[in-house]
Amino acid sequence: MAFKPSAVKKRKNKEEGTLNMNSMMDILTIMLLFLLMNFSTSGALSTKADGMTPPKIITKNKPKKMLVINVSTAHIFFKKEEIADIDQVVAQKKSFIIQALAEKLEEEKNRSEDLESKFGIEFKREVIVVADGRIPFDVMLKVVVTCGRNGFSNLKMLGNLANKQDVM
């Protein structure tokens, strides 16, 4: 025997539900404001090596894009290319010059001087050094001396901006 169709279900009004977007709009507006505050038009300055933690710095300076030397705890990179091992640099006792870096800097210097003489693009002798905060002073000194001896006398030691309380 067939059941009688339910009278209750038949009479039930089906209301059309609309999605309330107000709360979502609030979230998106806050997100938009937050992202606008952190907006940067300059783009990435340099590509960090894996696991690298640059030092915390209090002095506020706005870096520009220029030649980058990366010094991680394991390697030295010149324009993202690995050129020397830190162990070898530490073991090097007789000289302060890192040969592989010196060669690359010499090439870059010649290219920049060529551009300066041909097209008048000023060679500012600037280089950004992005170094890990844990590397020993000995390595840092060798990198700095190598840069200075190869015509790059204006060094920008890059780090992450921090509060005084975080550092000291």
Binding site: I57, R125, I135, F137, V144, K156, G159
Partner: protein, 191 residues
């Protein structure tokens, strides 16, 4: 003649909802775009000016008969060791409060950056106007194993401890620059 009843009663007020779809579409485009251009860790730098190789910067012409009058040099150095900070000049090493050891020993295993700030401020006050040729130069040196973070923090203090006012020739505006405009890196060589 009686008036016809007003039709206002029978007018149905329809509630219209704001169509948020175009705004949502715009948000969906703007948020990924801003996310890709955001910088959550701000970068900064400390400037290190090295002396350029190329001889002396003397502006004296070869015809000048009188030799240039040499100014005295102070040769200020800051040495970072495992024990603390030592400040030295050409002829003097500043001793610590207890008479020996580093000028500013570590406090609870941490470098005394506040003490360094005060000490450098005192030194700047003392040497101002004494006519030292290298009054704005400080050589920073450390033991081989000292971590770069400690060196960077010391450089931060050196840069921020005192300023000097300069007048821009072109705009005649006064500019404040760090007193120690020339920070150099050096090496301790023990004989």
């Amino acid at each position: 003649m009686a008036f016809k009843p007003s039709e206002r009663r029978s007018i149905k007020i329809e509630s219209t909802e704001l169509d948020l779809r175009p705004i949502m579409n715009m948000m969906c485009i703007l948020i990924p775009l801003l996310l890709s251009c955001s910088q959550f860790v701000k970068s900064t730098y400390i400037e290190l000016n090295l002396p350029t190789s190329g001889g002396s910067s003397s502006s004296q012409s070869p015809d000048d008969k009188e030799p240039p009058k040499e100014k005295p040099k102070i040769g200020l150095k800051l040495v970072v060791t495992e024990k603390g900070f030592t400040i030295a000049g050409n002829s003097i090493v500043l001793s610590g409060a207890e008479g020996g050891g580093p000028t500013l020993p570590k406090i609870n295993g941490k470098y005394d950056f506040d003490g360094l700030d005060k000490k450098l401020k005192d030194i700047v006050k003392t040497i101002t106007g004494k006519g030292f040729e290298d009054e704005r130069t400080l050589i920073l040196t450390a033991e081989d194993a000292i971590e770069y973070q400690s060196i960077a923090s010391a450089m931060d203090i050196i840069t921020a401890c005192a300023t000097k006012k300069f007048t821009d020739e072109a705009t005649k505006a006064s500019i404040l620059q760090p007193w120690f405009g020339q920070i150099g890196f050096g090496k301790i060589i023990l004989n």
